[in-house]
């Protein structure tokens, strides 16, 4: 029976994530607009945009290669595969043995490389510029992520996300300074990976300051819809990851029956909603930084992650 529940919860999780991703982006936009004193578009607007884009035939540059055709599908596929591994309302889903944090980072890197190559395919100036900046920022974001993973792996004894969430929920680790530092490092990485303010502006139309959007300037129609959808999935993935690791409360334990899922679903919605509110407030309160200040931002995240691990060594060494 447990096997059936795990498969069912996995399917439900993927369907939920696929449906919730555009809604989350819409909610964040709506919240930001309210905080700035605008009425803002309807929270379903991103979904409507995607459906509209899907109906349009894409226009490709004459010298675009097969990379432009395949990359959006690969990026969206990598994002779907990655989000399938991040638990939402229940742990112990069918793919839980696969849900390794380093693998999730690898799948995100796969999507990032697909996007960078798509940006370089036509040989337009902004595509190359965006690709170069994206890969350079990732070079600093990834070590910061690995440092946060190091702290989590020492505390939980594994890099498996499902197991980390479980041990943080059941283990009663209490408040630890190292966990706080890892949280800050992970938040900074999440902001950089999702191209949010202050690293990048998701709603900018000024090409010179763009990173993420610069790579997809040549995309249109269903390709653009896929790129936007992949970005929305990534945002949900990062919020879900933070919720699973740092706010595991309410998540249904592994092998539990569907009636516990309802509690988990409610808790998940509250957690993601709260994080979305926090993100909107943070983005409204802060200005975008210069492109060449971003390395300092990510470098600080890296140092905080390293500090968290070192503090952990010191504290366990004394205990």
């Amino acid at each position: 029976m447990a096997a059936v529940w795990s498969v069912l919860s996995q399917l439900l999780h993927v369907a939920l994530a696929l449906a919730a991703a555009p809604l989350l982006t819409g909610v964040v936009r709506w919240l930001k607009a309210r905080m700035m004193g605008r009425r803002g578009p309807h929270p379903l607007q991103p979904l409507r945009d995607i459906l509209k884009l899907l109906r349009k035939r894409p226009v490709l540059a004459e010298n675009a290669s097969a990379v432009s055709l395949a990359a959006p599908y690969l990026a969206a596929g990598a994002a779907v595969a990655a989000i399938a591994l991040v638990p939402s309302f229940a742990r112990g889903m069918a793919l839980a043995p696969l849900s390794d944090l380093i693998l999730i980072a690898g799948l995100l890197a796969l999507g990032r490389v697909a996007m960078a190559l798509a940006g370089m395919d036509v040989g337009s100036p902004f595509g190359g510029l965006g690709a170069s900046r994206e890969m350079s920022f990732a070079a600093l974001a990834e070590p910061a992520l690995v440092m946060a993973v190091l702290t989590l792996a020492i505390l939980a004894g594994t890099t498996n996300l499902d197991a980390i969430g479980g041990s943080f929920r059941d283990g009663g680790l209490g408040l630890r300074v190292s966990l706080g530092l890892a949280l800050v490092a992970l938040l900074a990485v999440a902001i950089a990976e999702n191209a949010r303010i202050p690293v990048d502006n998701p709603s900018t139309h000024l090409e010179l300051t763009m990173v993420h959007e610069a790579m997809i300037l040549e995309s249109s129609g269903r390709h653009l819809a896929l790129w936007e959808y992949a970005a929305q999935l990534r945002l949900l993935l990062w919020l879900g990851l933070l919720a699973t690791v740092f706010l595991p409360l309410g998540q249904a334990p592994a092998g539990s029956a569907p009636h516990l899922w309802i509690v988990g679903l409610g808790a998940w919605a509250v957690k993601i909603g709260g994080l979305a509110l926090g993100l909107a407030a943070f983005e409204s309160a802060i200005a975008k930084m210069r492109v060449f200040r971003v390395p300092e931002f990510l470098g600080a995240a890296l140092l905080l992650g390293l500090l968290g691990a070192v503090l952990l060594f010191v504290s366990t060494g004394l205990a």
Binding site: A76, L107, M120, L140, E218
Partner: protein, 671 residues
């Protein structure tokens, strides 16, 4: 098996000797390269048989005056036969495809000798044989690097390479001397009976890192590698990066895991971890900045050698700290990455050679858009580049995942200084992996995507036949190694037993794991998951979206089309190699590689153009070519003064030396 391998070494040496008459024959070059390629694949097969069978030893009926030359085939040498054999096989196949008509003998002769030297190093069971093979490998590859005597760059590369090869051989010789101690027997069996301890062990390790480490490309003795590897012909570059660095790493592994005994303390691993991590970052950063495809790939080799060295160092530390399961994990990461890197780097070098052949340039700024003209090369290159960028589910990700798992569990060695050092090494390894991804995107994107940057690139053609097979074989192997790292690790189990001291757990068909209770990586299910997700995306989109695409001019943010005298668009409108590297050059290059950017603006009213100059330099090379020659000159000038001494002073000097020697002898005798 060992006898057959020894015969193969002899045949390769004979093939080298036969190169002079073969060079005159019409198909001599093809014959020689075909035979070497066959020998390479046979060597890999021999490695597999050696791993499945037991160890063997063989005493040759000839050798140095003090005894026979001893050969042995154990699990460690069998494992390293795999990367060497596969790399040489593919490189030979590529050379076979490019060899038409008579070839000068100086291009042919050193190639089989080079291969024979590498195999002899792997099979050696005494210090003399190992050094003989190592030096044959060094000198033959030097001859191939120096073959193009006309180019000043090549001459410089060959000169520096010869210096480093001499230094490496000398250090290894001293290392063997120190290991052998007073008895002077350099047979491996005798060395094992008297493992060094304390200061002697540390001195042996230092000599080993200078000797074999410089050949592998460990910082700060890596500077010759980005000069010499690209200067050789393509198939030799591929074998130097794919195979020769692995032979040097084998020598390191043979010393630290076998000859120096099982009882070394855990801190013996720290120099390897520290040097490896520094090497990985400097190599990856240079790979992200270099503007010549083969130099870029050579720098990426430095990065991967650094990662393998980190794995070897961790395995040594874990064994010293009595954590054999973790030693097997770290050793498995190092051995697997050595094989994976040999295959994908051989592939990438052959791609660079194919591009050089088709578009007549190695400079990224003269290529571009080749995916339209050379599709097979482009897709094969994408597989290799994605593996080098450690993207799942390709081979590079599997071994780097293992290495990261080993680094993440290294805190179990209780010492707090070691824990902090390893945390820093983890950061550096992750930074190197991410930088490698940036370097590979830049390499593949600039060469194969975009618009052609020169007419030559617009008219490039790819070759067919053996050269194409030489690209497809390593590309297929990269896919296979990525999907099935478990069986490969199981094959390496005897070698891991030698490294860690205990039986390693079986990995199984579909997963590799980080010990009991640790995380596991399932490549095949992950590949299926990504494929299913992509399939889902295609299906969902196809249901709603209209089929087909419309073609039009690039939108390019509304820029108007280039004038007709730019048939491939405005060349300034496409990122250049230096421009693409600019963010990383500013972020990391200024601190690590002394990168600089200066803008010279014309004054008001002047009509000359503004100039932007940017560049970087490896500090190790600066030291090599700056202060070192000056010190040499100063020392020579001082030594010259001896010639002006009077006869009395000369006699006094000699007498003083004799007295000093006698005093030394008396002191040694008194102890």
């Amino acid at each position: 098996m060992l006898t057959a391998l020894a015969l193969l070494v002899g045949l390769l040496a004979a093939l080298g000797a036969a190169a002079v008459p073969l060079a005159r024959a019409a198909n001599g070059g093809r014959l020689l390269h075909g035979a070497t390629a066959l020998a390479g694949f046979l060597l890999a097969a021999g490695g597999v048989v050696g791993l499945l069978g037991g160890p063997a030893t063989l005493d040759l009926p000839f050798g140095p005056p003090w005894g026979p030359m001893r050969l042995a085939l154990d699990a460690l040498s069998s494992w390293f036969l795999l990367p060497v054999g596969l790399s040489v096989g593919c490189a030979g196949l590529f050379a076979l495809g490019g060899a038409y008509g008579p070839v000068p003998a100086r291009d042919l002769l050193p190639w089989p000798i080079f291969v024979a030297g590498m195999v002899l190093t792997l099979l050696a069971a005494d210090g003399f044989t190992l050094l003989l093979g190592f030096e044959a490998m060094s000198l033959a590859s030097w001859a191939l690097v120096a073959r193009d005597g006309a180019g000043a760059e090549n001459q410089r590369a060959a000169r520096i390479y010869l210096g480093f090869a001499g230094l490496g051989g000398l250090c290894l010789m001293l290392g063997f001397g120190l290991l052998a101690g007073g008895a002077g027997d350099v047979a491996f069996a005798a060395l094992r009976d008297d493992p060094p301890e304390g200061a002697r062990a540390a001195a042996v390790l230092a000599l080993l890192l200078a000797g074999a480490g410089s050949k592998a490309g460990l910082a700060p003795l890596h500077v010759w590698l980005p000069l010499a590897h690209p200067a050789a012909p393509t198939h030799v570059s591929a074998a130097m990066s794919g195979a020769m660095t692995k032979v040097a790493l084998y020598v390191i592994a043979r010393f630290i895991f076998d000859l120096m005994g099982p009882a070394q303390p855990f801190w013996m691993g720290t120099p390897l971890i520290a040097l490896g991590a520094a090497t990985a970052v400097i190599g990856a950063l240079r790979a992200a900045l270099e503007e010549d495809s083969k130099v870029l790939l050579a720098c990426s080799t430095i990065e991967n050698v650094g990662l393998i060295a980190v794995g070897l160092g961790l395995a040594l530390a874990f064994r010293g700290a009595d954590l054999p399961a973790l030693a097997a994990l770290a050793g498995g990461a190092a051995l697997l990455h050595a094989l994976n890197h040999a295959v994908f780097k051989t592939l990438l070098f052959l791609v660079a050679g194919e591009v050089l052949h088709g578009a007549l340039s190695r400079r990224l700024d003269r290529l571009g858009g080749l995916i339209h003209r050379m599709p097979v090369t482009a897709w094969a290159a994408l597989i290799g580049a994605a593996a080098a960028a450690s993207l799942p589910p390709l081979s590079g990700f599997a071994s780097e995942w293992l290495l990261l798992q080993a680094l993440l569990t290294a805190w179990r060695v209780g010492d707090i200084a070691f824990q902090m050092g390893v945390a820093a090494a983890t950061t550096l390894a992750a930074l190197a992996a991410a930088l490698a991804a940036a370097a590979m995107v830049r390499f593949w994107g600039l060469v194969f995507l975009g618009r052609p940057r020169t007419p030559r690139a617009a008219g490039a053609e790819e070759s067919t036949g053996a050269a194409r097979i030489a690209l497809l074989v390593p590309a297929g192997l990269t896919l296979l190694l990525g999907l099935f790292p478990g069986p490969v690790l199981d094959l390496a189990e005897p070698a891991l037993r030698l490294v860690s001291g205990t039986a390693a757990p079986r990995a199984g068909w579909f997963a590799i794991g980080a010990g009991d209770g640790g995380a596991r990586y399932w490549p095949v299910p992950v590949a299926l998951l990504v494929a299913a997700a992509v399939g889902l995306a295609v299906w969902l989109v196809r249901r709603r979206a209209p089929a087909g695409v419309q073609r039009g001019p690039a939108w390019d943010c509304g820029f108007i089309a280039a004038p007709p005298h730019f048939p491939f668009g405005d060349p300034a409108g496409q990122p250049s190699a230096a421009g693409f590297a600019q963010p990383l050059r500013r972020m990391l290059g200024q601190g690590l590689l002394a990168a600089h950017e200066t803008v010279t603006m014309p004054g008001p009213g002047e009509t000359r153009a503004a100039v932007l100059r940017s560049g970087f330099a490896d500090p190790a090379l600066e030291t090599l070519e700056g202060p070192l020659p000056r010190w040499r000159e100063a020392a020579a000038a001082r030594a010259e003064r001896l010639r002006a001494l009077s006869i009395r002073q000369c006699l006094g000097l000699t007498f003083g030396a004799v007295v000093l020697m006698l005093a030394l002898l008396a002191w040694i005798g008194a102890r």
